[in-house]
Symmetry: C2
Subunit: 531 residues, 2 copies
């Protein structure tokens, strides 16, 4: 540690220099430091369970920025024995907790994820202590095996049993969707890997087909499909957005027409259809069997983006579990246990019906891969290399709750959502937005403009839309400044304007949801009175 506090940045290293990262034995540092940090973690969780705790510490980003600055020290102070002062570190950790959104309140209804569970924290602790890279099994035996097992379990649940399936964790749903698009390109068009899009163009021309590869997805899909098209060198123009019905489901007939139009008018050659299971705004599920039939007819890869809605497959309610009927017909599926199943961020899987399709993503690396077996070399399945062992988190959840527990978890959320919709309907001063059918976990609503009698809101003129969206945004800002609930707002399909969107999580409390709805009604009432 000699010289560690010296301002002389170019001083020669002492001949017996030791890294400051090992100023003491890790075991003694861990024994002193980690129980303190764990206490702060427990305090944060316990604080979240108090009804008076703010869900968001700041009403606005500018306020937050004014109050919080983060130091990047050149040098740090040490005690007489050369040990770095622990105060700065503990203060920094306290600062994180003091100024973070507290999802343990159960009042964070803003996004498609929420708090994790103590099991999730335990899993992260294990991952951090083991710190093994899941790129090859020899470096991370159990983490790689957990990934293999979770992939097997998920493939079975989704009906990937005809061929030998495979899959892997990805750092997020967007990354998984992107890898699906790239894998599809390489499998549908053999020259893609070596010659890229240029090779695909030649390949299509040789077959007398229109040279632009086209990707079809619904107008309500996640924007990662657009990003995947940019990433893969296709460009946004290669994405065809297909119309949805009023509940946000892709219309198979519109898909069929769009495909046939593209082929007839030679605007391009369809290669991929993306189905969304659980759209971001409304929580709708595209009809898989119908989409699969279209995909088969046109020789397209069928990908299902089930990042959000995939866990519905575990539901004990037949009408819900049936939403994933037809999943076995897909070529690939994305599912994110870090969303609906409350596994810590990030935990996302890409599954493929046919293991061999992933060989498109393999490259030799003599220093890394010492066998050709993809099961022992997960980095061969993806465009990345180093990987955190995210599957371990999901495996520990599976051990703790079982498949049936996942179903009960999902069903608890669905029941809350039903009760919430009933409660909103009971409030004449609120306007309920379009709902997924069957109802899923996102509920969109806004204060009703007092003079208006409609509730369907499908024939609004642009001025009415503007006025009502302003009402929504007022409510959103007011809720934000009160800091007791975190919700979001979103523009809804069919140009009906902005609605408050909240995501019911299975651990949300119904009492809190009622309070929130009451507040939206109250704020809206005050707003329209002065508007």
């Amino acid at each position: 540690m000699a010289g560690h506090t010296s301002a002389n940045g170019t001083g020669k290293a002492a001949s017996s220099s030791r890294s400051p990262l090992q100023a003491e034995a890790a075991s003694s540092e861990a024994a002193r430091l980690l129980p303190q940090v764990l206490q702060l973690v427990q305090d944060f969780i316990a604080s979240g369970e108090k009804p008076e705790t703010y869900v968001a510490p700041w009403g606005s980003i500018p306020d937050f920025r004014k109050a919080v600055t983060l130091d990047l020290p050149d040098s740090v102070s040490t005690d007489a024995a050369g040990m770095p002062d622990e105060t700065a570190l503990m203060d920094a950790i306290k600062l994180v907790f003091d100024h973070s959104v507290n999802p343990w309140t159960g009042r964070f209804l803003d996004k498609l994820y929420a708090a994790t569970t103590p099991v999730g924290i335990a899993a992260d602790l294990v991952l951090s202590a083991v710190n093994a890279n899941a790129h090859v099994m020899s470096a991370s035996p159990v983490l790689s095996l957990a990934e293999e097992r979770c992939v097997e379990g998920l493939c079975e649940v989704f009906g990937f049993t005809e061929k030998k399936p495979d899959g892997l964790t990805m750092p997020g749903g967007s990354a998984a969707n992107t890898l699906a698009v790239q894998t599809a390109l390489a499998n549908v068009f053999p020259p893609f890997r070596t010659q890229g899009v240029l090779g695909v163009v030649q390949y299509l021309a040789d077959k007398g087909k229109a040279p632009r590869p086209l990707l079809f997805t619904s107008s309500q899909c996640h924007y990662s499909l657009d990003k995947a098209a940019i990433s893969a060198g296709l460009g946004l123009d290669s994405v065809v957005k297909v119309a949805c019905d009023k509940t946000g489901r892709m219309c198979p007939k519109a898909l069929e027409e769009a495909l046939e139009q593209a082929v007839q008018q030679r605007t391009g050659t369809p290669f991929l259809i993306n189905a969304t299971s659980g759209t971001t705004v409304l929580g709708s599920f595209d009809p898989l069997p119908e989409l699969a039939a279209v995909a088969r007819k046109h020789g397209c890869w069928l990908h299902i983006d089930a990042s959000w809605g995939g866990p519905i497959v575990f539901s004990h309610r037949a009408e819900y579990a049936g939403l994933m009927k037809g999943s076995q017909l897909a070529d690939s599926i994305t599912i994110n246990p870090h969303k609906l199943l409350n596994v810590p961020l990030q935990c996302s899987f890409l599954l493929v019906r046919d293991a061999d399709t992933l060989s498109a993503n393999s490259l030799d690396a003599g220093y890394l891969f010492h066998s050709k077996d993809r099961r022992e070399n997960a980095a061969m399945k993806t465009m990345g290399c180093g990987r955190r062992g995210d599957a371990l988190k999901f495996w520990l959840y599976w051990v703790r709750y079982g498949k049936q527990g996942f179903g009960h978890h999902v069903d608890a959320g669905l029941q809350l959502a039903t009760q919430l919709v009933e409660y909103i309907r009971s409030k004449p001063e609120l306007e309920l937005g379009p709902l997924a059918h069957p109802l899923f976990l996102q509920i969109c609503f806004r204060p009703k403009q007092p003079s208006s009698a409609d509730d369907g809101a499908h024939t609004l003129d642009p001025e009415q839309v503007r006025v009502r969206s302003k009402g929504t945004q007022f409510v959103y800002q007011e809720l934000k400044s009160r800091r007791m609930f975190a919700v979001d707002f979103a523009p809804l399909p069919n140009d009906i304007g902005d609605y408050i969107r909240l995501v019911v999580h299975p651990r949300t409390r119904m009492d809190d949801l009622r309070t929130l709805v009451d507040q939206v009604a109250e704020i809206g009432h005050a707003y329209w009175k002065q508007a």
Copy 2:
């Protein structure tokens, strides 16, 4: 929890159903569960500090597979109060520790990462408890601010001060390199974003240039550059591999010639040069000022893949810190604090000299982005969306060790590497492979074939190469079965065959390195005796 153990998978949810994820208050579950897990973490660390502890629990993957199976239960058992039995979870966690590589031994010299520190574990604990998505600042105020600050700090260190720089964390070096390639494509070729590679071809044709975009990188670069070319729709044929000198550095003259040849022969139009700072096998640094001059002359984007070697910039030794001289001339830089700086996996940054270049990766998402400010919407900078707040880990390291501490850490590793090379040189029965100049942290060596007098090994015939590689692989397998050291082997440039490659980490103990070298000499001696 009613029905949680029932086999009736289609049973209707009870009207008062509660998610099994909240069978009890999170605070009480955390208080009971997490101290037990933390104790296992501390035991794992302490065990790693015992000299007799195996670094790898298994000598081979088949042995591991035979001994370990991971359960995926349909249902779980509960106690009388309906609480899930904790034994299964704790057994699962113990299994992970019992069968994982133990990097705390300091004898894991196999890869470009090693054990983290208790500070790293603390950071992961905090991230897990907060579980905030760093896609927008409103969801993750402190994590987003930590990312902003770390990006500022790193940009300053690398000299990105002329324009307003920017950057973000990525889930790994490969992902960061891939995003750099995509960002370069979109900035060098404006039609890329909307029309993809097809638009680029037209754009180049209109300018009278050869239609294939070409990427130049050294023969010793990381394979993620190849993967990035596949991902971006360029294909492997668009990657031009440039020759290196004997120490693994790209030859600027060879680069210049390759570029001019491509332009003159119209095989393609160069758009990106990738420089590697710290190659995977030898740890070499490409000469940045020379490469930057070539990039400027040809209008190419200059990317530096400093995933591994980037932290050398913190060194207090001028000849080492100087290896990153010229970094300020790059357009983008990848650096992975999870490698040399022992931040937990994953922690990787992509930095750009000009913040505006990242706008190529932005897409509107009305439900997510409520301002155009990329500082408040990190997901606008990348092709992904949801993101773990990995920067927090690096910020807590920075608070704990300071910039100077990073330098002392790196220098401690360099000193060990120097001592190790001296020790290997003192052993006549060992053959040292080519070394980076100046020496970095990877050392390649193998047992010398007794009959051979050479040590440079540059004129070996294929049969000699085969014979010596076999010796290397024998040593590797024997070390593996002894389980006291984890090392890797790699084929070295210029067809001189396989060498044992070990990565000196700043916290490796010199005594252990000497023991390992002794063992390689001893195993090699026995091998050649019987060969």
